[in-house]
Symmetry: C2
Subunit: 460 residues, 2 copies
């Protein structure tokens, strides 16, 4: 049976003096006069395995190039005096696939900017091995967390007839032939001919659909791709990203905040317990304050303040900001970062935002000015979670829709949830990539997405 490098690192003594078969790729190769050394990687572990062969094996061994795919076997031997604790003494080596001479991942440091231009090869680079292992682990951890808590997963639709959910610009989806449309009279644009018989868009959230399911299964969540057609070229925005959205019936804002804190803590714990080597890698090479920061979060509590208190703190801070600070204006990233990085020095929930800057579905507070919204801000990132208690009172929700100029007809089904066994309910959204950036210290969202989609970039 083939082994993985992870299995060997996890329990090397079980393999000592055993014959071991492996396959993977050559990370480094030094062919000396007496002895050759190959560093083998197979994606399972942050460290490579050292393969050793004697020079009399000849060219079949000596000519193996950097990046080549090989299948090998040999005996694993403890080497207590060497840098590595063990090495594999090769008896067989099959060249499965060589590399052309222009292989871009030569043995040197490449910038993240350059590696983005070879997104099909960058998962082989050290940093991206750790990034995408962490991404896979955390994706599983999200599902496991909610599954163990009895949440039902609901696959909310990506395609939606709605064009205004208040969460950002939307992409349009069509099966019409645009080449034929241009040049036709305006009346030629008839959505009755389109696939769905009307305009269709890519959903910016699965929340409204998840609310319907929360009223049948109480606690539900969705986790899937989400889309924004916002032309913003920042390190925190992508046109396509994954979002985690739990939604709980019979739940108010306090219950939601408890869930959000528990969720973030569980994710940090998973990263520490199940990817310790990758987290250490990020701490060593990406962000040397990472482990200390995450450990501090686990040791202390999450702070909490109202939006009104946050504005007060910002106004009194003496700090000069690029964007204005005033009650009624939304917090910008610089404000969020100041609150979490400088004031609280840790995660902080900001609650009860002005109604006018929040979406129509958020529950009105008794002060008639604010809504039961909550954002979680974390150091180095800013907003990582946004949520709210939802307006469950039919009349108030209908008023909000009307006040925002939205069609009550289009939202009839959503209003129905308030007419038939409605409950106080609440939910939040976590940007999965922001969570990964928080857990890894990676600074650009493009570097935690396998094939990022941003303005003017849709390669691969």
């Amino acid at each position: 049976m083939e082994q993985t490098i992870a299995a060997i690192y996890k329990n090397p003594t079980a393999f000592y003096n055993q014959k071991v078969r492996l396959s993977g790729w050559v990370r480094n190769h030094r062919a000396g006069k007496q002895v050759g050394f190959i560093e083998l990687v197979d994606g399972s572990y942050p460290e490579s395995l050292q393969l050793v062969y004697s020079a009399d094996r000849g060219e079949a061994f000596r000519d193996v190039s950097l990046g080549a795919a090989v299948a090998v076997s040999g005996h694993l031997v403890a080497t207590p005096e060497a840098k590595q604790a063990f090495e594999l003494r090769l008896t067989e080596l099959d060249l499965v696939g060589g590399t052309a001479e222009d292989y871009p991942l030569q043995k040197k440091r490449h910038s993240f900017e350059y590696l983005r231009t070879i997104a099909h090869l960058r998962p082989r680079a050290n940093t991206f091995q750790s990034v995408f292992r962490l991404r896979s682990l955390m994706s599983f951890a999200v599902h496991r967390y909610f599954h163990e808590k009895g949440f039902l997963q609901v696959h909310t639709p990506v395609l939606t007839a709605s064009d205004a959910e208040g969460a950002g610009e939307m992409f349009q989806v069509t099966a019409l032939d645009l080449d034929r449309l241009a040049g036709q009279p305006p009346a030629a644009l008839d959505y009755k001919d389109d696939f769905f018989g009307g305009p269709a868009h890519l959903a910016v959230s699965g929340q409204l659909n998840a609310e319907a399911f929360a009223h049948a299964f109480k606690n539900v969540y969705s986790f899937g791709p989400t889309f924004r057609a916002e032309n913003s070229n920042t390190a925190r925005h992508a046109a396509e990203f994954w979002m985690i959205e739990p939604e709980c019936a019979f739940c108010d804002l306090d219950g939601l905040i408890d869930l959000a804190e528990d969720f973030i803590r569980a994710m940090i714990q998973t990263a520490f317990e199940e990817a310790p080597q990758d987290i250490q890698f990020f701490n060593d090479f990406i962000d040397d304050g990472l482990i200390q920061r995450l450990e501090a979060v686990q040791a202390a509590g999450f702070s909490s303040m109202t939006y009104t208190e946050a504005i007060d703190l910002l106004e009194k801070s003496g700090q000069s900001f690029a964007y204005p600070v005033s009650w009624g204006l939304d917090l910008q990233t610089e404000h969020e970062r100041f609150l979490t990085d400088e004031v609280v020095k840790g995660p902080v929930f900001v609650t009860d935002y002005p109604e006018d800057i929040k979406a129509f579905y958020m529950r009105g507070n008794d002060d008639q000015k604010t809504v039961a919204a909550v954002d979680l801000l974390v150091p180095g990132i800013g907003e990582i979670i946004g949520g709210s208690q939802r307006e469950e009172r039919f009349d108030l929700l209908a008023q909000r829709l009307a006040a925002k100029g939205m069609s009550t007809e289009a939202y009839q089904w959503y209003l129905d949830l308030r007419r038939y066994g409605g409950t106080p309910h609440a939910g939040f959204g976590v940007g999965f990539e922001r969570l990964l950036m928080y857990l890894s210290g990676m600074k650009n969202i493009r570097d935690v997405i396998p094939f990022p989609r941003v303005p003017k970039q849709i390669n691969f």
Copy 2:
């Protein structure tokens, strides 16, 4: 602490004579002269919990309507002589949310067709409670299966510049204003102005991207929404569905077939072990041959035949088919169903299809006529898995691209995977909804998707 109905059913004796708090919805209510009975559901379990109260509790209890949301508490009492083994004797009942009189889910059987028109409420109906609990469980089971096998999950992009991956019609995605486009001269359609600076589509598969990751992590899988703009109104097709796509480096067709069989067996086992009541429900009310059929699959092996053998069997069957049978033509659903339902009477792998009817990336066999493709056919459904070994030989892949009139420039990155440490590799795709139909006996794909999208249907 609040309990769930599932927790009580799983270990009722732990709750006997204890005070229990619950919340959920009223499935049925009989207010007698002496005693009232409420059937409570909370989405966690296929059975309801019987709540009992004495009539002197008055209107607050008696007036609770079907579908209402309630929070209750009382003592759980064993009732060995009654139909139910236990009941909750109510001491408190809070009406959280009532139901308007026109509540559509009254106590009678509704057709699946009707329930599709109220997709926001149907998850409260018995059948859809079981369907969506199974969907959630199986989604988790997919992730757990691959996680435990060491597969890395990769989130392949939904947005793609490719418009021809050979798996079906694609939706176009745009941020252009189509209302302004119609009526302009043809030159007005300039994709340089569009979000990505070129045409964009919704991916029909994540395979090509997954191949890149398989060459960094060996065994990977994707599991996400997939799109087809095919105007086919069948019980097996939807415009948006979820697909599971494992991709393995250092793997040939035989290895892939082993994985596919192991995967299907593991999914059946999970359904039996972790959703026995839901599977029993499907057997009782949806498909009375379900359990027998799935048990037979677990007991026997999966069969295998080549496409050439399949054509031979079909030609000699004496069966009359609507579509012609001839070597070189693709198998239609009626042919697949005949092979799996009638000939094999169980799951069957069909391998080695003619090159001309399969996608460009499938590996050519030595006979120069067929490719190393495999479909898994199962009774009642037809094709549930489609996969292949991929063409890893650079020259042959480039030839196939050219022969199909595809741009080698657009696929340069994909060709690169054959130039830099390439390996024999293979992968398959499983339609998640078809898997659910197979495990539940549900006959229409619209009834296993929370909010189905099909031609002219994009409500909710």
